[in-house]
Every structure is written in structure tokens, then in C-alpha cells.
């Protein structure tokens, strides 16, 4: 039984990774999960300089999901490179570094620096709804998507994954723009912009007013977008949005994702990734699937 997948020349022992921002750089969840078993660890977004992020409250719980407006707090490239990359190199798993920025130059700065590090792939977050500048602004306009992708690709030493925002009229347009810009792979979806109001206190729950909706609640939107994008572009897709079980992960794979990420579900059950990996193996056995690659996009 083969569970290995290949994305832009990088081999993954299995298609299960973690979603950026939900797993830090692995150190904390490493106490709960054997990181060696994961297809990859995708780090929290890192910028060229430290970011303070948003004021608190940064999260709110919603029906079957949550809102977050962490605002991409991160220690900045230097500390990240010194501490977090070496930590992950202790494990037999791929390292995908999620990159954020306010301007194209910010992104390029980080991507250039990462060129000297032995990380496996870069995931460029152009879809964070929780920062005023950068983030989602890049991800909602196909011209901007293509331009930033090109700019990043021009300096990147590792394969580049563009992470798309679901807060768009037509996700395939963004996917095509990223592909046209030279993206090696796509990640989708980032969070849907949402809001919660505390009616007793008559105020917003989040200090940032709006936040990004994630978790099982959004899964049907994510599966739809993965399916649409898989049928619109040739580059491989990393699917995410509400995955909490092997069944969920398989929905994305059947819809066209080559790999999947587990995000919010880690908060509900730190062991989710392992259960997904084992559940996929069990499914393959039950259904007599020799190679997981045969499942990718097989529901048309």
C-alpha cells in the first residue's frame, strides 16, 4: 500500500500535514504527536520582522467552528530561522514554511532568506483576513495574485505553494492567476471572514471585530473550492478547511487534493493528524486501494 504523494518534486510519506497557524512550529504539539509520522509540518506564518499581531480577544467559538484574528503574530525571520527550523530538522518530516508580509518586498525578503535554509517548500499566505495591509488584499485580485506569485517565484529556491482565500467570487480565477504566475502548488482554503457579537454585552467578541472562520462548519465550502480548482488548473492542491477525520480528508482527496492539512481540529483533539493518517490507511485497505494517488480527484 502506497501512501506517498509527490508535490512539485517533493516526496511526502503521507498526504497529511498541519494547517499553518494552528500548530506553531511543532514544538508544543510535539508533546502530543510524534512529528515523524506527519507528511509535513507547516509552520505559523513568518514575516521578515517580528509582528505583534492583534489585540485580544483573538478568538471566538462558533457553531462547529471558530473565528480567529491572531493577526499573524510572529517572532520574525531571524529568531524563526535560528530556533524553529533547527527544531523541525530533528524530525523525519517535511518542513513547509508559511510566509506572510505586508508588501511584496516583505514576502521577497523572507523567501530570499529561506533560500539558504534546508526547508522543503514555501507556502505564501496571501489570504489572511486579519491584517490591515497585505494578506487578503493580495489574494482577492487575480492580477495581484499573479504578480506576487511571479515576484516570489523569481527569488524562491524551494517550490512555492500559494495559499488562496475563499473570500472571492470565483476561486478558479485566483487559482489560474497563481498558476500563470508560476506557482508549483496551491493551498486552499484559508478562513472565511466572519463576525460574532456578544448580545448580552452588546459588543464584538473579537477586538478586531472580524475574524477568520475555520473548522468543520466550513468544510463543504472548502471541498467545493478544491473540486473547482482541481478542475481548473494542473498544479497539485493541498486541501484544508474543517478536516477532523480520515473521512473528511478523503473527501478532499477524492475532490482533487493531493494532500490535506489539519487545522482547527488539532484544538479539539491533538491526536487528529495521527487518526487521519491511520484512518486513510484503513480506508485504503477496506477499499483495496493500492496507491493513494489513485484516489486523487477520482470523483468527477
Amino acid at each position: 500500500m502506497n501512501t506517498k504523494v509527490n508535490i512539485a518534486g517533493v516526496e511526502f510519506k503521507n498526504p497529511v500535514m498541519v494547517a499553518s497557524g494552528t500548530f506553531g512550529s511543532g514544538a508544543e504539539y510535539g508533546e502530543f504527536v510524534d512529528l515523524n509520522r506527519l507528511g509535513a509540518v507547516v509552520t505559523k506564518g513568518v514575516a521578515n520582522v517580528p509582528w505583534e499581531g492583534n489585540p485580544t480577544p483573538r478568538i471566538a467559538e462558533t457553531y462547529g467552528g471558530m473565528l480567529n484574528a491572531v493577526g499573524l503574530q510572529n517572532p520574525g525571520y531571524d529568531l524563526f530561522a535560528k530556533r524553529d527550523i533547527p527544531y523541525l530538522q530533528n524530525y523525519d518530516t517535511n518542513i513547509i514554511v508559511n510566509v506572510c508580509g505586508r508588501t511584496t518586498e516583505d514576502y521577497i525578503d523572507v523567501v530570499e532568506k529561506l533560500g539558504h535554509e534546508s526547508v522543503d517548500m514555501l507556502e505564501i499566505n496571501i489570504s489572511c483576513p486579519n491584517v490591515k495591509h497585505g494578506g487578503i488584499a493580495f489574494g482577492q485580485d487575480p492580477k495581484a495574485v499573479e504578480a506576487i506569485t511571479k515576484a516570489v517565484k523569481a527569488v524562491a529556491k524551494q517550490p512555492v505553494i500559494m495559499k488562496l482565500s475563499p473570500n472571492v467570487t470565483d476561486i478558479t480565477e485566483m487559482a489560474r492567476a497563481a498558476e500563470a504566475g508560476g506557482a508549483d502548488a496551491l493551498s486552499l482554503i484559508n478562513t472565511l471572514t466572519g463576525m460574532q457579537i456578544d448580545v448580552e454585552r452588546q459588543k464584538f467578541v473579537l477586538a478586531n471585530k472580524t475574524g477568520g472562520l475555520s473548522g468543520p462548519a466550513i468544510k463543504p465550502v472548502a471541498v467545493r473550492m478544491v473540486y473547482q480548482v482541481a478542475n481548473a488548473v494542473k498544479v497539485p492542491i493541498i486541501g484544508m478547511g474543517g478536516i477532523a477525520s480520515a473521512k473528511d480528508a478523503l473527501e478532499f482527496i477524492l475532490a482533487g487534493a493531493t494532500a490535506v492539512s489539519v487545522g482547527t481540529a488539532n484544538f479539539n483533539n491533538p491526536n487528529t493528524t495521527i487518526e487521519v493518517i491511520e484512518g486513510i490507511e484503513d480506508y485504503m485497505e477496506r477499499h483495496g486501494v493500492e496507491d493513494i494517488n489513485n484516489l486523487i480527484g477520482s470523483v468527477k
Binding site: T22, E31, F32, P57, R58, P270
Partner: protein
Amino acid sequence: MREKEKAVVVSQECIGTGIYSMIIKTKAADSAVAGQFVSIYCKDKTKLLPRPISICEIDKENGTIRIVYRVVGGGTEEMSGYKSGDGIELIGPLGNGFMQRENKKAILIGGGIGIPPMVGLAEALKDKAEVQIVAGYRDELFLTKELQENGSLYIATEDGSCGTKGTVIDAIKDKEIQGDVIYACGPTPMLRAIKEYAMGKGIECQLSLEERMACGIGACLACVCKSKDKDAHSNVNNKRICKDGPVFLAEEVEL
């Protein structure tokens, strides 16, 4: 490897209006110290985030912890319905706990639902230092027996129905309570006043903070507080309450 544990409810009772006390048989008891917390998962699957609740008392012999909580929403409402023998999923112990200063005359200050962790702290401290406890209530008292058994207890009530009428600070001033170190847990305005009081007196002050949490283990950066200096981990002026706290030295944090 740590894991989400399927612990068991030993017993539960209602000890005040909307306030419950639950004894849980859990592995967390083995290593827990006063001031740490556990994060409890709801059975209602629409609620994904675990609820952080301070450890009130630790019984290592029986492998149990006690928690005392107020029903404020759906999660605590659900918990209040658990019966002896029910499963209860949790992770813990989490966070750092109080730094127990030996031979330092202690003032433990709890406000409202910040009182429970003071019970466990008083128990742990009483053989190491003189323990004075200031407990602030709106009106209805709870946990006073446990507090009394572990130190000299001073009570403040908002309505003056018991002890000093007013805040815990009013009680400290009123009763002229002196000490070398303050340990406090309660609502932010109270902690702010205590910080100011302690700074004025120039004594050490440990504050247990609260914030909405997702992971509970330091990974998601949901639960930060502002720190005075750049934090070594975050590299910005933010500390993670779940991991670097919940207990901080008053001078480290901005409230």
C-alpha cells in the same frame, strides 16, 4: 507523549448559585501544582474549543483534582450536568502555576471565580510560609471553609454582607494585612488594583491571568497578554497565558 485524557468524574456538587465543585480522577493529578489549569472538552460537538479551568485542589494520593467553576455559558452549563462516573475529556495540567516562595509571608488574593486556585495554593504553601487569604465576593460566599483551614481568612463582599464592605484592596487596608509576596487571581480590574498596590509597597506580586484559549498549550497565539519587555519566545511584547502563564509577575505584564 501527552494525550487528551478520558478522565472520570468522581463527584460533583453545587456549592453556590451557579457554582459547582467537581472531583475528577485524572492522570493530571500526578504532576499538577497549584495555579495550573486543565482544559476540558465539551461533549456537545458544536463546541470545539476546550474550556480552561483552574485546578482548585490536588489529591495526589487518590489521583484526583478538584475544580470549582461558575456556569456562564454552554460549556460550563454542560459540565454542571455531569454525574459521578461520567467520562470527562481533558488535557492537563497546563501552564506554569504559582512560584511558591518559602518563608515569605504570603497574601493570597482571590476574587470571585478566581478564588478556587487559592485553595490549592494555600494548601501547598501552609507548611512553607505564613498564609493569609483575602477572598472577595459579590455577596454569596463559597469555599470559605477550605480557605480557613489553610490560613487566616479575610473576606470582602461588595454588599458588605460579610467581612469588609468593598474590594479585596479595601479589606487589605481595612485589616492592615502585611506580607512579603502577593499571589492573586480574579477579574482584571481587581488584578490591576492589586498590581498597583503591590508596586506601591514594593513587594513581589504574582498574578494569574485569563484569556480566551484555543490550543491551551502555546501553539496558536490566541491567548496572549501584553508584556512589559520583549518576550523571549514571541520576540514581541506578548506572552502566551496558557504556556508562559497563567501566572506572571505583576511587573512583567501590562493589564
